[in-house]
Symmetry: C2
Subunit: 287 residues, 2 copies
Protein backbone atom coordinates (compact mmCIF):
# COMPACT_ATOMS: atom_id res chain seq x y z
CA UNK A 1 0.00 0.00 0.00
CA UNK A 2 1.17 3.50 -0.81
CA UNK A 3 -1.08 5.65 1.33
CA UNK A 4 -1.37 9.41 0.91
CA UNK A 5 -3.70 11.86 2.65
CA UNK A 6 -5.02 14.38 0.18
CA UNK A 7 -7.24 17.35 0.91
CA UNK A 8 -9.06 20.27 -0.64
CA UNK A 9 -10.18 23.62 0.75
CA UNK A 10 -13.37 25.09 -0.66
CA UNK A 11 -14.46 28.62 0.18
CA UNK A 12 -16.15 31.78 -1.01
CA UNK A 13 -14.12 34.90 -1.75
CA UNK A 14 -14.77 38.52 -0.80
CA UNK A 15 -13.35 41.76 -2.15
CA UNK A 16 -10.55 41.90 0.43
CA UNK A 17 -7.48 40.01 -0.79
CA UNK A 18 -5.84 39.84 2.64
CA UNK A 19 -8.95 38.31 4.16
CA UNK A 20 -9.25 35.72 1.39
CA UNK A 21 -5.63 34.72 1.89
CA UNK A 22 -6.11 34.52 5.62
CA UNK A 23 -9.19 32.34 5.26
CA UNK A 24 -7.48 29.91 2.91
CA UNK A 25 -4.35 29.85 5.09
CA UNK A 26 -6.47 28.94 8.10
CA UNK A 27 -8.14 26.11 6.18
CA UNK A 28 -4.80 24.81 4.93
CA UNK A 29 -3.17 25.04 8.35
CA UNK A 30 -6.02 23.15 9.96
CA UNK A 31 -5.80 20.39 7.33
CA UNK A 32 -2.01 20.23 7.54
CA UNK A 33 -2.01 20.08 11.32
CA UNK A 34 -4.32 17.07 11.11
CA UNK A 35 -1.99 15.25 8.76
CA UNK A 36 -3.06 16.22 5.23
CA UNK A 37 -0.07 15.58 2.98
CA UNK A 38 -1.24 17.18 -0.26
CA UNK A 39 -3.64 20.12 -0.09
CA UNK A 40 -5.30 21.79 -3.06
CA UNK A 41 -6.84 25.27 -3.10
CA UNK A 42 -9.46 26.46 -5.56
CA UNK A 43 -8.63 28.39 -8.75
CA UNK A 44 -7.39 31.94 -8.05
CA UNK A 45 -8.13 31.41 -4.38
CA UNK A 46 -7.19 34.91 -3.24
CA UNK A 47 -9.70 37.01 -5.15
CA UNK A 48 -13.19 37.01 -6.46
CA UNK A 49 -13.54 35.57 -9.95
CA UNK A 50 -12.79 38.88 -11.65
CA UNK A 51 -13.19 37.54 -15.20
CA UNK A 52 -16.91 38.29 -15.12
CA UNK A 53 -15.98 41.56 -16.84
CA UNK A 54 -13.09 42.85 -18.94
CA UNK A 55 -11.57 45.44 -16.62
CA UNK A 56 -7.97 46.71 -16.81
CA UNK A 57 -7.98 47.46 -13.10
CA UNK A 58 -8.10 43.73 -12.31
CA UNK A 59 -4.55 43.25 -13.57
CA UNK A 60 -3.47 44.78 -10.27
CA UNK A 61 -4.47 41.49 -8.65
CA UNK A 62 -1.74 39.58 -10.47
CA UNK A 63 1.29 38.43 -8.47
CA UNK A 64 4.71 37.08 -9.35
CA UNK A 65 6.34 33.73 -8.63
CA UNK A 66 7.72 33.91 -6.00
CA UNK A 67 5.28 36.38 -4.52
CA UNK A 68 2.79 36.85 -1.70
CA UNK A 69 1.08 33.47 -2.17
CA UNK A 70 4.24 31.39 -2.36
CA UNK A 71 5.67 33.24 0.65
CA UNK A 72 2.59 32.59 2.75
CA UNK A 73 2.20 28.92 1.89
CA UNK A 74 5.89 27.98 1.81
CA UNK A 75 6.03 28.65 5.52
CA UNK A 76 2.97 26.48 6.21
CA UNK A 77 4.21 23.72 3.89
CA UNK A 78 7.55 23.55 5.63
CA UNK A 79 6.06 23.75 9.11
CA UNK A 80 3.76 20.78 8.57
CA UNK A 81 5.67 18.94 5.82
CA UNK A 82 2.68 19.29 3.50
CA UNK A 83 2.54 19.75 -0.27
CA UNK A 84 0.33 22.71 -1.18
CA UNK A 85 -1.19 23.41 -4.61
CA UNK A 86 -1.68 27.16 -5.00
CA UNK A 87 -3.62 28.50 -7.97
CA UNK A 88 -2.70 32.13 -8.67
CA UNK A 89 -3.19 34.95 -11.14
CA UNK A 90 0.41 35.12 -12.32
CA UNK A 91 2.16 38.26 -13.51
CA UNK A 92 5.04 37.11 -15.69
CA UNK A 93 5.91 40.55 -17.00
CA UNK A 94 4.08 43.67 -18.10
CA UNK A 95 1.52 42.46 -20.62
CA UNK A 96 1.90 38.73 -19.97
CA UNK A 97 -0.35 37.24 -17.33
CA UNK A 98 -1.29 33.60 -16.74
CA UNK A 99 -3.82 31.56 -14.81
CA UNK A 100 -1.28 29.38 -13.01
CA UNK A 101 -0.59 26.83 -10.32
CA UNK A 102 2.45 26.77 -8.09
CA UNK A 103 3.15 23.50 -6.32
CA UNK A 104 4.96 23.94 -3.02
CA UNK A 105 6.77 20.82 -1.88
CA UNK A 106 6.85 19.57 1.71
CA UNK A 107 10.12 21.38 2.38
CA UNK A 108 8.66 24.73 1.38
CA UNK A 109 10.42 24.89 -1.99
CA UNK A 110 8.69 25.39 -5.32
CA UNK A 111 8.34 21.95 -6.91
CA UNK A 112 6.85 23.18 -10.17
CA UNK A 113 4.63 25.63 -12.03
CA UNK A 114 1.77 24.97 -14.45
CA UNK A 115 0.13 27.58 -16.63
CA UNK A 116 -3.46 26.92 -17.72
CA UNK A 117 -3.37 25.66 -21.28
CA UNK A 118 -7.03 25.93 -22.32
CA UNK A 119 -8.45 29.40 -21.82
CA UNK A 120 -12.22 29.88 -21.96
CA UNK A 121 -14.12 32.90 -23.14
CA UNK A 122 -17.84 32.97 -22.65
CA UNK A 123 -20.21 35.58 -21.28
CA UNK A 124 -19.10 36.11 -17.62
CA UNK A 125 -15.93 34.04 -18.15
CA UNK A 126 -13.79 36.50 -20.15
CA UNK A 127 -10.50 34.75 -19.50
CA UNK A 128 -8.99 35.33 -22.92
CA UNK A 129 -8.81 39.02 -22.02
CA UNK A 130 -6.66 38.37 -18.97
CA UNK A 131 -4.64 35.22 -19.54
CA UNK A 132 -2.06 34.24 -22.11
CA UNK A 133 -2.47 30.51 -22.80
CA UNK A 134 0.15 28.44 -20.98
CA UNK A 135 3.46 27.81 -22.73
CA UNK A 136 4.90 25.26 -20.32
CA UNK A 137 2.89 22.34 -21.70
CA UNK A 138 1.28 19.73 -19.47
CA UNK A 139 2.87 18.83 -16.17
CA UNK A 140 3.35 15.96 -13.78
CA UNK A 141 5.26 17.31 -10.82
CA UNK A 142 7.21 15.09 -8.46
CA UNK A 143 6.53 15.95 -4.84
CA UNK A 144 7.45 14.25 -1.60
CA UNK A 145 4.25 12.18 -1.47
CA UNK A 146 3.19 11.62 -5.09
CA UNK A 147 3.70 12.68 -8.66
CA UNK A 148 0.86 15.11 -9.23
CA UNK A 149 -0.78 16.39 -12.36
CA UNK A 150 -1.94 19.99 -12.42
CA UNK A 151 -4.72 21.24 -14.67
CA UNK A 152 -7.13 24.13 -14.21
CA UNK A 153 -10.89 24.44 -14.73
CA UNK A 154 -11.55 24.69 -18.51
CA UNK A 155 -8.78 22.09 -19.01
CA UNK A 156 -11.14 19.57 -17.45
CA UNK A 157 -13.23 19.40 -20.62
CA UNK A 158 -10.24 18.22 -22.69
CA UNK A 159 -9.41 14.49 -22.67
CA UNK A 160 -6.08 15.32 -24.34
CA UNK A 161 -4.96 17.31 -21.28
CA UNK A 162 -5.71 14.51 -18.83
CA UNK A 163 -4.21 11.89 -21.12
CA UNK A 164 -0.90 13.72 -21.60
CA UNK A 165 -0.69 14.52 -17.89
CA UNK A 166 -1.25 10.86 -17.00
CA UNK A 167 1.24 9.74 -19.65
CA UNK A 168 3.85 11.85 -17.87
CA UNK A 169 3.30 9.76 -14.77
CA UNK A 170 0.79 11.77 -12.76
CA UNK A 171 -0.86 9.66 -10.07
CA UNK A 172 -3.41 12.26 -9.00
CA UNK A 173 -4.70 14.99 -11.30
CA UNK A 174 -5.80 18.14 -9.47
CA UNK A 175 -8.25 20.59 -11.02
CA UNK A 176 -8.52 23.87 -9.12
CA UNK A 177 -11.73 25.35 -10.50
CA UNK A 178 -14.06 28.33 -10.55
CA UNK A 179 -17.28 27.10 -12.11
CA UNK A 180 -20.87 27.85 -11.29
CA UNK A 181 -24.38 28.51 -12.42
CA UNK A 182 -25.13 31.68 -14.34
CA UNK A 183 -28.37 33.38 -13.30
CA UNK A 184 -28.87 34.60 -16.87
CA UNK A 185 -29.19 30.99 -18.08
CA UNK A 186 -32.33 28.84 -17.73
CA UNK A 187 -32.49 27.26 -14.29
CA UNK A 188 -33.10 23.78 -15.70
CA UNK A 189 -29.59 23.78 -17.17
CA UNK A 190 -28.10 23.72 -13.70
CA UNK A 191 -28.31 20.03 -12.96
CA UNK A 192 -27.06 18.70 -16.31
CA UNK A 193 -24.19 21.23 -16.29
CA UNK A 194 -23.01 20.05 -12.88
CA UNK A 195 -23.49 16.42 -13.93
CA UNK A 196 -21.49 16.98 -17.12
CA UNK A 197 -18.68 18.54 -15.11
CA UNK A 198 -18.54 15.51 -12.83
CA UNK A 199 -18.86 13.09 -15.75
CA UNK A 200 -15.93 14.58 -17.65
CA UNK A 201 -13.58 14.42 -14.71
CA UNK A 202 -14.63 10.92 -13.68
CA UNK A 203 -13.99 9.87 -17.27
CA UNK A 204 -10.40 11.13 -17.02
CA UNK A 205 -9.92 9.01 -13.90
CA UNK A 206 -11.26 5.92 -15.68
CA UNK A 207 -9.58 6.38 -19.05
CA UNK A 208 -6.20 7.00 -17.45
CA UNK A 209 -6.36 4.90 -14.30
CA UNK A 210 -5.56 7.83 -11.99
CA UNK A 211 -7.13 9.65 -9.07
CA UNK A 212 -8.82 12.94 -9.98
CA UNK A 213 -9.47 15.71 -7.49
CA UNK A 214 -11.30 18.99 -8.11
CA UNK A 215 -11.38 21.99 -5.75
CA UNK A 216 -14.06 24.52 -6.66
CA UNK A 217 -15.21 27.72 -4.97
CA UNK A 218 -18.64 28.54 -3.61
CA UNK A 219 -20.57 31.76 -3.13
CA UNK A 220 -22.45 34.35 -5.13
CA UNK A 221 -20.40 36.74 -7.30
CA UNK A 222 -22.40 38.99 -9.63
CA UNK A 223 -24.66 36.64 -11.63
CA UNK A 224 -22.56 33.57 -10.86
CA UNK A 225 -23.28 31.06 -8.10
CA UNK A 226 -20.20 28.88 -7.80
CA UNK A 227 -21.31 25.32 -7.36
CA UNK A 228 -18.68 23.87 -5.04
CA UNK A 229 -19.04 20.09 -5.21
CA UNK A 230 -15.30 19.65 -4.81
CA UNK A 231 -14.62 15.93 -5.01
CA UNK A 232 -12.14 13.14 -5.45
CA UNK A 233 -12.62 10.15 -7.76
CA UNK A 234 -10.74 6.86 -7.64
CA UNK A 235 -9.39 5.27 -10.86
CA UNK A 236 -12.70 3.44 -11.32
CA UNK A 237 -14.58 6.75 -11.56
CA UNK A 238 -16.16 6.37 -8.14
CA UNK A 239 -16.47 9.58 -6.14
CA UNK A 240 -14.99 8.77 -2.75
CA UNK A 241 -15.42 12.21 -1.17
CA UNK A 242 -17.53 15.18 -2.22
CA UNK A 243 -18.74 18.50 -0.82
CA UNK A 244 -21.90 20.44 -1.66
CA UNK A 245 -22.28 23.97 -3.02
CA UNK A 246 -23.62 25.21 0.26
CA UNK A 247 -20.74 25.88 2.60
CA UNK A 248 -17.10 26.66 3.12
CA UNK A 249 -15.58 23.34 3.92
CA UNK A 250 -12.62 21.04 3.54
CA UNK A 251 -12.09 17.34 3.24
CA UNK A 252 -9.11 15.11 3.78
CA UNK A 253 -9.09 11.51 2.63
CA UNK A 254 -6.49 8.79 2.60
CA UNK A 255 -6.01 7.10 -0.76
CA UNK A 256 -3.83 4.17 -1.81
CA UNK A 257 -1.77 4.99 -4.88
CA UNK A 258 -1.17 1.28 -5.44
CA UNK A 259 -4.77 1.16 -6.71
CA UNK A 260 -3.50 2.77 -9.90
CA UNK A 261 -1.52 -0.28 -10.94
CA UNK A 262 -4.27 -2.58 -9.73
CA UNK A 263 -6.89 -0.96 -11.95
CA UNK A 264 -4.55 -0.49 -14.91
CA UNK A 265 -3.84 -4.23 -14.92
CA UNK A 266 -7.55 -5.03 -14.90
CA UNK A 267 -8.55 -2.29 -17.35
CA UNK A 268 -5.42 -2.13 -19.51
CA UNK A 269 -6.44 0.82 -21.67
CA UNK A 270 -2.88 2.09 -21.95
CA UNK A 271 -1.76 -1.26 -23.36
CA UNK A 272 -4.05 -1.05 -26.38
CA UNK A 273 -3.87 2.59 -27.44
CA UNK A 274 -3.60 2.82 -31.24
CA UNK A 275 -0.75 5.30 -31.23
CA UNK A 276 -0.18 4.61 -34.94
CA UNK A 277 -3.59 6.18 -35.64
CA UNK A 278 -3.83 9.26 -33.43
CA UNK A 279 -1.69 11.76 -35.30
CA UNK A 280 -4.64 13.78 -36.60
CA UNK A 281 -5.47 14.75 -33.01
CA UNK A 282 -3.15 17.68 -33.69
CA UNK A 283 -5.52 19.02 -36.34
CA UNK A 284 -8.27 21.53 -35.66
CA UNK A 285 -10.75 19.53 -37.70
CA UNK A 286 -10.57 16.80 -40.33
CA UNK A 287 -12.23 18.32 -43.38
CA UNK B 1 -34.63 21.45 -36.73
CA UNK B 2 -32.95 18.44 -38.29
CA UNK B 3 -34.94 15.55 -36.88
CA UNK B 4 -33.81 11.93 -37.15
CA UNK B 5 -35.36 8.82 -35.63
CA UNK B 6 -32.67 6.52 -34.32
CA UNK B 7 -33.11 3.09 -32.82
CA UNK B 8 -31.30 0.16 -31.27
CA UNK B 9 -32.13 -3.53 -31.01
CA UNK B 10 -30.94 -5.36 -27.89
CA UNK B 11 -31.21 -9.12 -27.60
CA UNK B 12 -29.68 -12.30 -26.28
CA UNK B 13 -28.02 -14.79 -28.63
CA UNK B 14 -28.29 -18.56 -28.79
CA UNK B 15 -26.14 -21.19 -30.47
CA UNK B 16 -28.17 -21.19 -33.67
CA UNK B 17 -26.92 -18.53 -36.11
CA UNK B 18 -30.01 -18.62 -38.29
CA UNK B 19 -32.26 -18.02 -35.32
CA UNK B 20 -30.15 -15.13 -34.06
CA UNK B 21 -30.29 -13.53 -37.50
CA UNK B 22 -34.03 -14.04 -37.68
CA UNK B 23 -34.58 -12.52 -34.28
CA UNK B 24 -32.53 -9.42 -35.10
CA UNK B 25 -34.17 -9.10 -38.51
CA UNK B 26 -37.59 -9.15 -36.87
CA UNK B 27 -36.55 -6.43 -34.42
CA UNK B 28 -35.12 -4.30 -37.20
CA UNK B 29 -38.12 -4.77 -39.45
CA UNK B 30 -40.50 -3.78 -36.68
CA UNK B 31 -38.47 -0.66 -35.92
CA UNK B 32 -38.14 0.25 -39.59
CA UNK B 33 -41.82 -0.26 -40.27
CA UNK B 34 -42.59 2.21 -37.50
CA UNK B 35 -40.33 4.85 -39.02
CA UNK B 36 -36.89 4.28 -37.48
CA UNK B 37 -34.38 5.90 -39.84
CA UNK B 38 -31.09 4.67 -38.36
CA UNK B 39 -31.03 1.31 -36.57
CA UNK B 40 -28.08 -0.13 -34.71
CA UNK B 41 -27.56 -3.80 -33.80
CA UNK B 42 -25.33 -5.06 -30.99
CA UNK B 43 -21.72 -6.21 -31.54
CA UNK B 44 -21.51 -9.51 -33.47
CA UNK B 45 -25.28 -9.77 -33.35
CA UNK B 46 -25.53 -13.14 -35.07
CA UNK B 47 -23.63 -15.34 -32.63
CA UNK B 48 -22.89 -15.82 -29.01
CA UNK B 49 -19.87 -13.91 -27.77
CA UNK B 50 -17.44 -16.65 -28.75
CA UNK B 51 -14.32 -14.84 -27.47
CA UNK B 52 -14.81 -16.34 -24.00
CA UNK B 53 -12.34 -19.01 -25.15
CA UNK B 54 -9.62 -19.33 -27.77
CA UNK B 55 -11.10 -21.90 -30.11
CA UNK B 56 -10.12 -22.36 -33.80
CA UNK B 57 -13.55 -23.72 -34.59
CA UNK B 58 -15.10 -20.29 -33.99
CA UNK B 59 -13.43 -18.88 -37.11
CA UNK B 60 -16.16 -20.70 -39.03
CA UNK B 61 -18.54 -18.02 -37.81
CA UNK B 62 -16.76 -15.33 -39.79
CA UNK B 63 -18.46 -13.93 -42.89
CA UNK B 64 -17.38 -11.79 -45.82
CA UNK B 65 -18.50 -8.35 -46.97
CA UNK B 66 -20.79 -8.69 -48.82
CA UNK B 67 -22.11 -11.83 -47.16
CA UNK B 68 -25.13 -13.25 -45.34
CA UNK B 69 -25.60 -10.25 -43.03
CA UNK B 70 -25.36 -7.59 -45.71
CA UNK B 71 -27.68 -9.60 -47.96
CA UNK B 72 -30.30 -9.93 -45.26
CA UNK B 73 -30.28 -6.33 -44.10
CA UNK B 74 -29.83 -4.67 -47.49
CA UNK B 75 -33.28 -5.92 -48.42
CA UNK B 76 -34.84 -4.55 -45.24
CA UNK B 77 -32.96 -1.25 -45.54
CA UNK B 78 -34.18 -0.71 -49.07
CA UNK B 79 -37.74 -1.80 -48.31
CA UNK B 80 -38.14 0.70 -45.48
CA UNK B 81 -35.57 3.33 -46.50
CA UNK B 82 -33.71 2.78 -43.23
CA UNK B 83 -30.00 2.95 -42.48
CA UNK B 84 -28.84 -0.20 -40.66
CA UNK B 85 -25.63 -0.60 -38.67
CA UNK B 86 -24.55 -4.25 -38.75
CA UNK B 87 -21.70 -5.45 -36.55
CA UNK B 88 -20.15 -8.62 -37.93
CA UNK B 89 -17.27 -11.03 -37.47
CA UNK B 90 -15.54 -10.26 -40.76
CA UNK B 91 -13.49 -12.73 -42.78
CA UNK B 92 -11.18 -10.67 -44.96
CA UNK B 93 -9.09 -13.57 -46.13
CA UNK B 94 -7.66 -16.76 -44.69
CA UNK B 95 -5.85 -15.70 -41.53
CA UNK B 96 -7.18 -12.13 -41.39
CA UNK B 97 -10.39 -11.60 -39.47
CA UNK B 98 -11.83 -8.38 -38.05
CA UNK B 99 -14.49 -7.25 -35.62
CA UNK B 100 -16.30 -4.95 -38.02
CA UNK B 101 -19.29 -2.80 -38.75
CA UNK B 102 -21.02 -2.53 -42.11
CA UNK B 103 -23.28 0.48 -42.56
CA UNK B 104 -26.11 -0.14 -45.01
CA UNK B 105 -27.58 3.04 -46.44
CA UNK B 106 -31.28 3.66 -46.96
CA UNK B 107 -31.09 2.46 -50.58
CA UNK B 108 -29.66 -0.90 -49.53
CA UNK B 109 -26.10 -0.12 -50.64
CA UNK B 110 -23.03 -0.38 -48.43
CA UNK B 111 -22.25 3.13 -47.21
CA UNK B 112 -19.08 2.21 -45.36
CA UNK B 113 -17.12 -0.30 -43.30
CA UNK B 114 -15.34 0.17 -39.97
CA UNK B 115 -12.94 -2.31 -38.40
CA UNK B 116 -12.57 -2.22 -34.62
CA UNK B 117 -9.36 -0.36 -33.84
CA UNK B 118 -8.84 -1.20 -30.15
CA UNK B 119 -8.86 -4.92 -29.46
CA UNK B 120 -9.20 -6.11 -25.85
CA UNK B 121 -7.73 -9.21 -24.32
CA UNK B 122 -8.74 -10.12 -20.81
CA UNK B 123 -9.92 -13.33 -19.21
CA UNK B 124 -13.17 -14.26 -21.05
CA UNK B 125 -12.58 -11.54 -23.68
CA UNK B 126 -9.84 -13.13 -25.80
CA UNK B 127 -10.33 -10.88 -28.79
CA UNK B 128 -6.67 -10.57 -29.74
CA UNK B 129 -6.76 -14.23 -30.70
CA UNK B 130 -9.53 -13.69 -33.23
CA UNK B 131 -9.31 -10.15 -34.56
CA UNK B 132 -6.62 -8.25 -36.40
CA UNK B 133 -6.78 -4.62 -35.24
CA UNK B 134 -8.55 -2.40 -37.76
CA UNK B 135 -6.50 -0.81 -40.53
CA UNK B 136 -9.13 1.52 -41.94
CA UNK B 137 -8.70 4.17 -39.24
CA UNK B 138 -11.61 5.97 -37.66
CA UNK B 139 -14.75 6.59 -39.66
CA UNK B 140 -17.56 9.06 -40.09
CA UNK B 141 -19.86 7.63 -42.72
CA UNK B 142 -22.30 9.77 -44.66
CA UNK B 143 -25.74 8.19 -44.83
CA UNK B 144 -29.07 9.48 -46.03
CA UNK B 145 -30.10 10.80 -42.62
CA UNK B 146 -26.88 11.72 -40.81
CA UNK B 147 -23.13 11.42 -40.82
CA UNK B 148 -22.52 8.60 -38.38
CA UNK B 149 -19.48 7.56 -36.43
CA UNK B 150 -18.87 3.86 -35.90
CA UNK B 151 -16.85 2.48 -33.01
CA UNK B 152 -17.08 -0.87 -31.26
CA UNK B 153 -17.08 -1.83 -27.56
CA UNK B 154 -13.47 -1.56 -26.28
CA UNK B 155 -13.09 1.59 -28.42
CA UNK B 156 -15.47 3.27 -26.00
CA UNK B 157 -12.74 3.55 -23.36
CA UNK B 158 -10.55 5.64 -25.67
CA UNK B 159 -11.19 9.40 -25.84
CA UNK B 160 -8.90 9.56 -28.88
CA UNK B 161 -11.29 7.35 -30.87
CA UNK B 162 -14.34 9.47 -30.12
CA UNK B 163 -12.41 12.70 -30.72
CA UNK B 164 -11.10 11.68 -34.14
CA UNK B 165 -14.49 10.33 -35.16
CA UNK B 166 -16.17 13.59 -34.17
CA UNK B 167 -13.45 15.62 -35.90
CA UNK B 168 -14.37 13.81 -39.11
CA UNK B 169 -17.87 15.19 -38.80
CA UNK B 170 -19.78 12.41 -37.09
CA UNK B 171 -23.07 13.65 -35.65
CA UNK B 172 -23.96 10.45 -33.80
CA UNK B 173 -21.37 7.94 -32.59
CA UNK B 174 -22.68 4.37 -32.42
CA UNK B 175 -21.05 1.78 -30.16
CA UNK B 176 -22.27 -1.76 -30.81
CA UNK B 177 -21.13 -3.61 -27.70
CA UNK B 178 -20.82 -6.94 -25.93
CA UNK B 179 -20.05 -6.14 -22.32
CA UNK B 180 -21.22 -7.72 -19.13
CA UNK B 181 -20.55 -8.88 -15.64
CA UNK B 182 -18.15 -11.76 -15.09
CA UNK B 183 -19.30 -14.22 -12.44
CA UNK B 184 -15.68 -14.89 -11.50
CA UNK B 185 -15.28 -11.27 -10.35
CA UNK B 186 -16.53 -9.90 -7.02
CA UNK B 187 -20.19 -8.98 -7.25
CA UNK B 188 -19.65 -5.51 -5.80
CA UNK B 189 -17.68 -4.56 -8.90
CA UNK B 190 -20.83 -4.79 -10.99
CA UNK B 191 -22.33 -1.39 -10.30
CA UNK B 192 -19.15 0.70 -10.67
CA UNK B 193 -18.22 -1.17 -13.86
CA UNK B 194 -21.58 -0.36 -15.45
CA UNK B 195 -21.37 3.23 -14.17
CA UNK B 196 -17.87 3.63 -15.60
CA UNK B 197 -19.06 2.33 -18.96
CA UNK B 198 -21.87 4.92 -19.01
CA UNK B 199 -19.58 7.68 -17.74
CA UNK B 200 -17.00 7.15 -20.48
CA UNK B 201 -19.52 7.27 -23.28
CA UNK B 202 -21.38 10.27 -21.86
CA UNK B 203 -18.03 12.02 -21.63
CA UNK B 204 -17.48 11.48 -25.36
CA UNK B 205 -20.85 13.10 -26.05
CA UNK B 206 -19.97 16.11 -23.90
CA UNK B 207 -16.34 16.59 -24.97
CA UNK B 208 -17.27 16.38 -28.64
CA UNK B 209 -20.77 17.83 -28.72
CA UNK B 210 -22.27 14.80 -30.41
CA UNK B 211 -24.97 12.23 -29.75
CA UNK B 212 -23.69 8.87 -28.51
CA UNK B 213 -25.64 5.64 -28.82
CA UNK B 214 -24.65 2.21 -27.48
CA UNK B 215 -26.34 -1.10 -28.35
CA UNK B 216 -25.37 -3.91 -26.01
CA UNK B 217 -26.51 -7.52 -25.77
CA UNK B 218 -28.19 -9.26 -22.83
CA UNK B 219 -28.28 -12.81 -21.61
CA UNK B 220 -26.11 -15.34 -19.85
CA UNK B 221 -23.23 -16.89 -21.84
CA UNK B 222 -20.81 -19.05 -19.85
CA UNK B 223 -19.70 -16.89 -16.89
CA UNK B 224 -20.75 -13.64 -18.55
CA UNK B 225 -24.02 -11.83 -17.94
CA UNK B 226 -24.29 -9.17 -20.61
CA UNK B 227 -25.61 -6.03 -19.01
CA UNK B 228 -27.76 -4.50 -21.74
CA UNK B 229 -28.39 -0.90 -20.72
CA UNK B 230 -28.31 0.22 -24.33
CA UNK B 231 -28.76 3.97 -24.33
CA UNK B 232 -28.53 7.24 -26.18
CA UNK B 233 -26.97 10.40 -24.77
CA UNK B 234 -27.46 13.93 -26.06
CA UNK B 235 -24.46 16.29 -26.50
CA UNK B 236 -24.89 17.48 -22.90
CA UNK B 237 -24.27 13.94 -21.59
CA UNK B 238 -27.91 13.40 -20.64
CA UNK B 239 -29.24 9.91 -21.26
CA UNK B 240 -32.46 10.41 -23.18
CA UNK B 241 -33.35 6.75 -23.64
CA UNK B 242 -32.05 3.63 -21.91
CA UNK B 243 -32.91 -0.05 -21.56
CA UNK B 244 -32.20 -2.42 -18.67
CA UNK B 245 -30.24 -5.66 -18.64
CA UNK B 246 -33.36 -7.68 -18.17
CA UNK B 247 -35.05 -8.13 -21.51
CA UNK B 248 -34.84 -8.25 -25.25
CA UNK B 249 -36.06 -4.89 -26.32
CA UNK B 250 -35.71 -1.99 -28.72
CA UNK B 251 -36.09 1.73 -28.56
CA UNK B 252 -36.61 4.38 -31.17
CA UNK B 253 -36.21 8.05 -30.35
CA UNK B 254 -36.35 11.21 -32.40
CA UNK B 255 -33.36 13.50 -31.95
CA UNK B 256 -32.61 16.93 -33.37
CA UNK B 257 -29.16 17.09 -34.93
CA UNK B 258 -29.27 20.89 -34.77
CA UNK B 259 -28.62 20.50 -31.04
CA UNK B 260 -25.01 19.74 -31.95
CA UNK B 261 -24.32 23.26 -33.15
CA UNK B 262 -26.37 24.73 -30.33
CA UNK B 263 -24.29 23.01 -27.66
CA UNK B 264 -20.98 23.52 -29.44
CA UNK B 265 -21.61 27.27 -29.50
CA UNK B 266 -22.35 27.30 -25.77
CA UNK B 267 -19.56 24.87 -24.82
CA UNK B 268 -16.99 25.71 -27.47
CA UNK B 269 -14.45 23.04 -26.58
CA UNK B 270 -13.39 22.58 -30.19
CA UNK B 271 -12.53 26.28 -30.45
CA UNK B 272 -9.92 26.13 -27.70
CA UNK B 273 -8.13 22.83 -28.30
CA UNK B 274 -4.37 23.31 -27.89
CA UNK B 275 -3.45 21.49 -31.06
CA UNK B 276 0.08 22.88 -30.80
CA UNK B 277 0.56 20.81 -27.65
CA UNK B 278 -1.00 17.42 -28.33
CA UNK B 279 1.65 15.74 -30.49
CA UNK B 280 2.86 13.42 -27.73
CA UNK B 281 -0.54 11.72 -27.76
CA UNK B 282 1.06 9.47 -30.39
CA UNK B 283 3.55 8.14 -27.83
CA UNK B 284 2.98 5.05 -25.73
CA UNK B 285 4.16 6.82 -22.59
CA UNK B 286 6.19 9.93 -21.82
CA UNK B 287 9.20 8.67 -19.91
Amino acid sequence: MKLVKIAIAQSSCGHNIEENMKKSALQVEELASKGAQIICLQEMYRSRYFCVTEDYKQFELAETIPGPSTELFSVIAKKYQSVIIIPIFEKRTAGIYHNSIVVIDADGSIAGVYRKMHIPDDPAFYEKFYFTPGDLGFKAIQTKYAKIGTLICWDQWYPEAARLTAMMGAEIIFYPTAIGWDATEPQEWGKPQLEAWLTMQKSHAIANGVFVCAANRIGQEEDLTFWGNSFISNPLGEIISQTTHEKETTFCIEIDLDQIEYYRQRWPFFRDRRIDSYSEITKRYID
